[in-house]
């Protein structure tokens, strides 16, 4: 019986040794030219994530000793960590709010805002929906505003069928939700909340929902429409001056307002003085234009990137 006890001890010891070994190993150094090293912590918006991830991937390939990590805890949580000085960069799908800026300032953190790409919010309905030709901003507001009275499509515009309207929206943890409510309802985070609306943390669930329900409406980042064009119908938006269909062109030239938004990255100015963060940010602005279309976003005009690079110097 004691044999068993010994075996147990051995097992425990092996596990401990393995742990320690793993703790010491895996530190292969690439001794090239005056290589950069250090860590860069990034967190924030999951919308901006694919963009920053792509840049981090390329940057890591070029600078093997710099450890870049990117989180997706959301724009708001990202700013919270940023204000505590836990991250060097913060991804954001909306501009920083006053209270968030104040929290950063209270901790002595001074930041620089960079715009790295644009994204359009696509308004979509089911493929079988043959009545909606366009929606005005007022109609969108009628559908999504708090305490909305809209129950059927007929309530949105006269002449449309009186079938129940089922509404989808990204959940409140998304910067996309913040941006949409601000742009359409005029107040961040203000939206109807009743049994007709479904909030979802997973954008693909909204794609599924709208593509499987003939009377549904939803909105999300344009890249999700682009990947599911065959399942959804894209709705042009009448913003009072023109009726615009979102596309990389209309997002880029600014005509698809107010539903196109800048994707932002905030940099801690104090950390910008370290060579690795400086190199990363410059690398970001130099390559964002090429990377953006690859991950489904719209690049800024080239001169905007150069302008921001100049500002950093």
């Amino acid at each position: 019986m004691n044999k068993l006890g010994k075996r147990l001890m051995t097992l425990t010891v092996i596990a401990l040794v393995l742990t320690l070994l793993s703790a010491c190993g895996g530190n292969s150094k690439d001794n090239g030219e005056a290589a950069l090293s250090g860590t860069i912590n990034i967190d924030g918006s999951s919308t901006v994530f694919p963009m920053t991830e792509a840049i981090a991937e390329e940057f890591s390939a070029a600078h093997k000793d710099v450890r870049v990590s990117v989180g997706t805890s959301g724009t708001g949580s990202g700013f919270k960590r940023f204000a505590r000085g836990e991250t060097e960069l913060s991804n954001a799908s909306r501009p920083i709010k006053e209270e968030e800026a104040k929290a950063a300032k209270d901790n002595g953190i001074d930041y620089q805002e960079l715009t790295v790409a644009y994204d359009g919010l696509a308004i979509v309905v089911n493929k079988d929906n043959d009545w909606v030709d366009k929606l005005t901003l007022d109609e969108l507001k009628k559908i999504y505003e708090p305490d909305s009275k809209v129950k059927t499509w007929a309530d949105v515009r006269e002449g449309w069928p009186a079938t129940e309207l089922r509404i989808y929206s990204p959940g409140s943890e998304h910067g996309t939700f913040d941006y949409f409510t601000e742009a359409i309802n005029g107040e961040s985070k203000a939206m109807r909340n009743d049994k007709q609306i479904t909030f979802s943390a997973d954008t693909n669930a909204i794609v599924q929902g709208v593509s499987g329900d003939s009377t549904a409406i939803g909105y999300f980042g344009y890249s999700f429409f682009e990947e599911n064009q065959d399942k959804l119908k894209l709705i042009p938006v009448d913003n009072g001056t023109a009726t615009v269909t979102p596309s990389p062109e209309t997002v880029k030239d600014g005509s698809y307002t107010p539903l196109s938004r800048p994707l932002l990255v905030y940099v801690d100015k104090a950390k910008l003085s370290t060579p690795e963060v400086k190199a990363f940010v410059e690398f970001y602005l130099e390559n964002a234009g090429a990377i953006a279309p690859e991950v489904g976003y719209v690049p800024l005009p080239d001169e905007k990137y150069t302008e921001q690079l100049e500002q950093l110097k």
Binding site: P50, E53, R67, G71, V207, G221, G296
Partner: protein
């Protein structure tokens, strides 16, 4: 006489019918679970098999689905379990031994017992909040592998304690008495008699609890395990990511090719879980023969 026989026969045939119906009902109850699981498995294997190649194990995450792998996530998960296993074993089994062998059976012990059973059912996100407050911020361990492993230890501890207690309780009274009769102390009895008799049950509980930890995402998201990590942790204070987080990120992307990649990731994770469960069965058989 014949009337009596007829009635009897009728009764018997009624009972047989009843038996048959219930038999079918139980088969249906079993198969619904199995069919749902099979459908899920087949669906995932069909989606994921195409991308299940070496790249998945050797590459870091990438924006290009064809190039993306989950090396850092697989290694992160393994490291986390390796750190967790000894800590949760010692703490969990220690607590179980105390509660079963040493503690007096009074109101305080019952209160502790009630708490442990309740903790076993607390949603995992709550442990994430706890880990964030205690380990990440309180002890300033940051978002390290160690914080993650300790948080997960808290999560699985109640499960380990309860299962270890059950295993210890199942050891017959006579074995303890025999040991005491030889003049053994309490610890000698526990170490020489109770633990060896219950170790198979304890190990099964520990391994099943650890495999639960591999699949958990919520607490680690809460303490801020990351999504894009293109390096392996070189110490227990390094940042890390784990498989379920990587899989979740891939599923939530717009591109279908990433959804397939997520399916391959799920296959890898399931194979790992099955291996752990098989090892639990093997360990149990091996040790139960020795007693």
């Amino acid at each position: 006489m014949s009337m009596f026989e007829d009635a009897n026969r009728k009764q018997i045939s009624n009972r047989r019918k009843k038996d048959l119906y219930l038999h079918l009902l139980f088969i249906a109850a079993t198969s619904i679970g199995i069919i749902a699981l099979m459908a899920l498995l087949i669906n995932i294997v069909l989606d994921g098999i195409g991308r299940l190649n070496l790249d998945l194990f050797t590459n870091y995450p990438s924006r290009v689905a064809e190039r993306a792998g989950m090396k850092s996530a697989i290694v992160g998960s393994i490291y986390m379990v390796l750190i967790m296993a000894p800590i949760s074993f010692v703490l969990g089994v220690g607590a179980a031994i105390y509660l079963e062998e040493y503690a007096k059976k009074n109101a305080i012990t019952r209160f502790i017992q009630l708490n442990i059973s309740t903790l076993a059912g607390v949603p995992s996100i709550v442990y994430g909040i706890l880990g964030l407050t205690i380990f990440v911020r309180g002890l300033s361990l940051d978002r390290s592998l160690l914080s993650g492993a300790l948080t997960m230890t808290l999560l699985v501890l109640p499960v380990i304690i309860v299962s270890a207690q059950e295993a210890i309780r199942a050891v017959p009274r006579a074995r303890r008495d025999a040991s005491f009769a030889l003049g053994a102390t309490k610890w000698q009895t526990v170490y020489g008699s109770v633990l060896p008799s219950s170790i198979s049950g304890i190990l099964t509980g520990v391994i099943l609890a650890l495999s639960r930890a591999i699949g958990e995402t919520a607490p680690l998201v809460m303490i801020g395990a990351l999504t894009f990590v293109a390096f392996l942790p070189s110490s227990i204070m390094d940042q890390f990511t784990v498989m379920p987080i990587q899989i979740f990120n891939w599923i939530s992307r717009p591109q279908v090719s990433f959804h397939d990649l997520a399916a391959s990731g799920i296959i890898v994770m399931m194979v790992m879980l099955v291996l752990m469960n098989i090892s639990a069965v093997i360990l149990r058989n091996k040790y139960s023969k020795q007693i």
